[in-house]
């Protein structure tokens, strides 16, 4: 499929063109692009697994993204340990809520898109450039979103120019919006955002920021049936990705476990989690 019968590189590979992998696929192998497939009729939203809640928050010198581990299919739990937070490249992270199949495909394509550009140009895209490429990718998925197969990503990265983290949210038509401090997407996002509002401070340390993100996911799971809380029996905990000047790093399982255990212990005292004061 990638070379013709003689084994020679196909003409398309040797034709000068842009540095976008998506554009290259559109010309050479359009069927590999998620948005180019024709679908049947009807709403498919309860027929395929959906990923649920993602939160992101900045802290001095970086940004963090965390996602619960549940995928649902209608009222069924499709998967207990799905991963929805990924490195997009060395200095950014991407996560998705919505149709899991397309979400994962979109993340893979986005990762290749960034790497491809980097290799061809010998330079990385700006953070805004990366965010815009993701917009274009979602826009291509619009016909499927109309049938209930929506994918809503969240994108965050370290911006060398401001020496800090930035967060971008999207709508299903590809609209791109920059968020300040924190944001959440997915079915439990409203509850998570409420919790973030009360717990978030601008000067949180990396560890405290991870605790806040985990607390907000626990709150989301508390009120949204599609969001999975920490699975204490199976020891399945949220995926937490951190991006700083040192690059992307996924918090090790045992660090996350320690944070979850602490939050869980506190909730035995007060099931609603930490209380915020009514003033200040």
């Amino acid at each position: 499929m990638t070379s013709d019968a003689s084994g020679r590189l196909p003409e398309a590979f040797l034709t000068p063109g842009g540095s976008s992998f998506m554009d290259f696929l559109a010309g050479h192998a359009p069927d590999l692009l998620p948005g180019r497939r024709s679908l049947g009729q009807g709403d498919l939203s309860s027929e395929v697994p959906h990923g649920t809640t993602i939160v992101a928050a900045t802290f001095p010198g970086g940004v963090m993204m965390a996602g619960d581990r549940r995928a649902t299919m209608g009222n069924i739990i499709a998967q207990r340990d799905i991963e929805k937070v990924f490195p997009a490249d060395e200095y950014s992270a991407v996560a998705f809520a919505g149709s899991a199949g397309f979400g994962i495909e979109m993340v893979r394509l986005f990762q290749v898109e960034l790497e491809h550009y980097e290799k061809l140009e010998g330079a990385t895209l700006s953070l805004d450039g990366k965010a815009n490429r993701l917009s274009a990718l979602i826009r291509g998925n619009l016909p499927m979103a109309m049938q209930g197969l929506t994918v809503v990503p969240l994108f965050a990265g370290y911006d060398e120019d401001i020496k800090g983290g930035r967060i971008f949210s999207y709508d299903p038509t590809g609209g791109r919006y920059e968020e300040t401090h924190f944001y959440s997407v997915g079915s439990g996002s409203l509850f998570a955002r409420g919790a973030l509002k009360k717990l978030y401070r601008e000067d949180l340390s990396e560890t405290d920021c991870a605790t806040v993100a985990i607390q907000s996911l626990i709150d989301a799971a508390d009120d949204d049936s599609a969001t999975g809380g920490p699975d204490m029996l199976r020891r399945i905990f949220p995926v937490v990705g951190v991006v700083t000047a040192d690059g992307y790093r996924r918090l090790p399982e045992d660090e996350v476990a320690a944070l979850v255990d602490a939050a869980w212990a506190q909730r035995h005292e007060r099931p609603d989690g930490p209380a915020a004061t009514s003033l200040t």
Binding site: M1, T2, S3, S6, G7, R8, L9, F13, L14, P16, F21, F24, L25, H28, A29, L32, E90, R108, L109, V112, E115, H116, K119, L120, G122
Partner: protein, 284 residues
């Protein structure tokens, strides 16, 4: 109606080969060298922007000499092929062998087709493995011939002279610093007069199997290169060393105390970016 000249196929191929070989020999050399933790690439290249060595995929790199526009086009095709394969199958399914094959077919087809000018390029496709024994280096020439190389490979410029120098000093399992010093010395031994190349005349990159990231390719910056090279001094001629300790790997280049060797000034200290003078359309 005029009858076209008869040219024998042997003559035709010889002419085309001579044409390509001449173009490649006009440029400057590039070296790939296996060291203990990976594969080192060192090319003499005054341009900081127009690369002769580049990343193809996780464990794969590309090095080339000859006409920049021609090998750049091949490099881009290689990245496209690798990314496409990795996207449609899996990252582990992208292999150096497949890429080297595709290049060989492409170069061969262009060389033997009457219509196209043969490409004036020579390329290396290198893939770093889990251990030294799994490393692969493929060397491809303008006519599509492919060779599986072990240890080291030199292309472009006075390739034979440079390769001879490396052959005399190379040992298996050499350290990175030792390999770097050897390669830089070798590039300087490409003529009758020995040159000492400075970091700004060199392009250096490694495929480092110890890197924790999936992508093993890394460029070595001018500052890092200067630091590593300052820790060893250029090899002096063999007659000076009395202690012939045949066991160690890198010390034939690093033992002599710094400062005692009269360093030959760089023959050509023109700044950057080819073409250095308007009439010079030498390949990189």
């Amino acid at each position: 109606m005029s009858v076209p000249f008869y040219v024998s196929p042997e003559q035709l191929m010889r002419d085309r080969a001579d044409f390509a070989r001449k173009g490649i020999a006009k440029g400057r050399s590039a070296i790939a060298l296996q060291y203990a933790d990976g594969i080192l690439f060192v090319a003499e290249n005054r341009s900081p922007a127009l690369h002769k060595v580049a990343e193809i995929y996780d464990r794969m790199a590309f090095a080339a000499v000859g006409r920049y526009n021609e090998f750049e086009n091949l490099r881009i095709a290689g990245v496209r092929l690798a990314d496409m394969r990795g996207y449609s199958y899996d990252r582990r399914d992208v292999t150096g062998r497949a890429l080297a094959n595709a290049y060989a077919q492409t170069l061969g087809a262009i060389f033997s087709s009457g219509g196209e000018k043969p490409l004036e390029v020579e390329i290396l496709v290198a893939e770093v493995g889990v251990g030294v024994a799994d490393d692969q280096i493929y060397r491809l020439t303008y006519d599509g011939s492919i060779a599986d190389v072990r240890g080291y490979a030199v292309m472009g410029g006075a390739a034979d002279t440079v390769a001879e120098y490396i052959g005399e000093h190379y040992t298996e399992g050499i350290s990175l610093a030792g390999a770097l010093r050897l390669a830089v010395d070798a590039l300087g031994h490409d003529g009758t007069e020995v040159r000492e190349l400075t970091p700004d005349q060199l392009e250096v990159a490694v495929l480092d199997r110890t890197r924790t990231q999936v992508r093993k390719f890394k460029r070595i910056s001018e500052e890092t290169l200067a630091r590593i090279l300052s820790e060893s001094s250029p090899a002096v001629d063999e007659k000076s060393d009395a202690d012939t300790s045949a066991d160690s790997d890198a010390d034939d280049s690093s033992e002599s105390a710094a400062g005692d060797t009269p360093v030959a000034p760089p023959v050509d200290d023109a700044p950057i970016a080819p073409p250095e003078d308007p009439d010079d359309d030498r390949p990189l």
